[in-house]
């Protein structure tokens, strides 16, 4: 296994479209890196540049300390699992897995050993003689993984490998991939648009938008300290609430006013706002639905804001909890509350924000001010 380094890597197509801009990232040996972002953000293009399936327009790509910009895909010692699996339809499962080793002209017994070992790991032993057309989606996915594993590559690249599976199988395969990473100690670069996959699998996540890296961090840090509005909105489900609020001084702290409501802040957040010269300006207050509580519910030691009066617009019972989508003037606020809640559609209730979980963003630059 090996590390990877992308320095100012860019991709510009002949029509002038810049799919990836100034991508910088060091991937350590055995890391599980996730590229996540909405469709068209450049995550797959970046992965394909690493694979050698797309030319790199600018910058340098190193695998295991060697610049590989102009190295053929087959000579980069990488393996890739494609979104549509890209299995060879005319070959059996065995031949699909053995193909790369055959082309390397390895001895037959060595190929056989590698294929059977991978088949054992992935529970494919009974399927070795079958053609891909006779396999289910999950089995095809495992064959695609097997084809990658037999090569013992320096780096595994996975391009949305679970997106064609149904929800149940996806969860199952996610666990399998995680186990595989632990077992093989492999360096994996994984592309997905599913933030749950990103959060559960990655040791670090690269959030991308419009070809630019927005933030590279651990899942925990991305969730707790998103660098900008996009990351804050993209990571976390249901999405973080964003409220435009005007900053004003209030004693030693500040107050955030919106829709006739007021939230008082002190400590680091208040200091950051004052130091940043936001007094009198509008900022974006971010609060995750699970940090919005019903004002009369037990607070369990949390520091809650003063009550904010809202009207429930939509009520969803999710089983373990409930979601309330509330209106506060023209602002919508989602709250993830206990399933015991008495609130229903049309109820006028008071909610309160967990003051220690409030995120603040600059309205113009969309960059984080404080968490």
């Amino acid at each position: 296994m090996a590390g990877l380094s992308l320095e100012h890597v860019g991709k510009r197509y002949p029509n002038g479209f810049e799919a990836v801009k100034d991508f910088c990232l060091d991937i350590k040996d055995k890391e599980f890196i996730i590229f996540v972002g909405p469709s068209g953000c450049g995550k797959s293009t970046t992965l394909r540049m690493i694979a050698g399936l797309e030319d790199i327009s600018s910058g340098t790509l190193e695998i295991d300390g060697k610049v590989v910009n102009d190295v053929e895909p087959k000579d980069r010692d990488i393996a890739m699992v494609f979104q549509n699996y890209a299995l060879y339809p005319h070959m059996s499962v065995y031949d699909n897995m053995a193909f790369s080793l055959k082309l390397k002209k390895l001895p037959k017994d060595q190929i056989d050993k590698a294929v059977r070992e991978a088949a054992r790991v992935l529970d494919l032993e009974q399927l070795l003689d079958r053609r891909p057309s006779a396999l289910s989606g999950g089995q095809r996915q495992r064959v695609a993984m097997g084809r990658a594993i037999v090569r013992s590559p320096k780096v595994f690249l996975m391009d949305e490998p679970l997106s064609n599976l149904d929800a149940k199988l996806r969860v199952q395969m996610r666990t399998e991939i995680s186990k595989l990473h632990d077992r093989l100690g492999a360096t994996i670069v994984y592309v997905t648009h599913d933030q749950t996959e990103a959060m559960t699998l990655g040791t670090r996540i690269v959030v991308m938008k419009d070809g630019e890296v927005q933030q590279v961090d651990t899942p925990q840090n991305l969730y707790n300290a998103p660098r900008n509005l996009f990351v804050a909105g993209f990571i976390g489900s249901p999405q973080m609430n964003f409220v435009d609020a005007t900053v004003g001084r209030s004693g030693s702290g500040v107050s955030l006013s919106f829709e006739g409501q007021k939230v008082e802040l002190d400590g680091d957040r208040a200091k950051a706002l004052l130091d940043g010269g936001y007094d009198g300006k509008t900022v974006v207050l971010g609060i995750r639905p699970e940090d919005v509580h019903e004002a009369d519910a037990p607070s369990e030691g949390k520091r809650l804001s003063s009550p904010v009066a809202v009207t429930v617009g939509v009520y969803e019972l999710l089983g373990a909890g409930s979601m309330l989508y509330c209106d506060c003037g023209k602002t919508s606020i989602a709250a993830s509350v206990s399933s015991d809640t008495k609130a229903r559609v049309g109820s006028k209730i008071n909610v309160a924000f967990d003051l220690d979980k409030i995120h603040l963003f600059d309205k113009a630059t969309e960059q984080a001010i404080a968490h």
């Binding site: 694979a51 050698g52 895909p73 087959k74 549509n84 890209a86 005319h90 082309l103 084809r147």
Partner: protein, 282 residues
Amino acid sequence: MHFGKNMRTYYLILIPVLVLFFAFNTFPLINGLIYSFTNSKGYGGFDWVGLRNYADLFSDSRVGNSYLFTFKLALLGTVVINVLSLVLALALNSKIKFKSSLRGLYFIPNILGALVVGYVFNYFFTYILPYLTHSTSMLADKGWAWVAVVVVCAWQAIAMNTIIYISGLQTVPEDIYEAGALDGASGWNKFRYLTFPLIMPFFTINMVLSMKNLLMVFDQIMSLTQGGPAQSTESISYLIYNNGLAGGQFGFQSANAVIFFIVIVTISVLQMRFLNSREEQL
């Protein structure tokens, strides 16, 4: 009532087609089969001769030679046509400029009539090529005339075969090639292990069509050599036409046509069976 009205419409559509098909296909076929048991000259009276025409076919050296020539042409032509059209299709399917225009250009031979092409090439082989090479016409040379026929047949047939191969190549998903590129399949290995097996169904169609068309070669012979020199390029179809209609061997050549029909059907079926068994189940 509704059903009856529908049926009437169906019959109104079906019967004219059936009548035409019977009149111009089935009836001549049966007629030919009947005449093959006679000594008809194509005019005047005739006697029944039983299977004598069929027996004589196997001892007639001219018929034998026409079979030899036709099979030589068909086998060689099929190989030449398929190899060249596959190469052309690969080139026209790659990332090149003016791809669509070139595809159109290479398809032109197919829309020209075979006789027109034959007469143009006749002029080329009779006047232009000898002038350029300071030699005699290929068409007048017993050893080379068949090559000219192969060239003309191939020139025209390649157009259609190329289009069929191009459509075949377009059915291969790009990600298969990408997976192949990562696995180390490039150049010849890519063609041998990925492209060719995946376009095998199209190869089957092209092989059967080329073989069948070449076995039935007529227009090119008519316009280029008329079977000459010294009957060295006399195809079976041309012999049936020439001796059957103009040579007073209507009954005998009818028997030849029946055998030829059976031969072509047999070859096509065998070819389909063999190639289908090699087609990969995709």
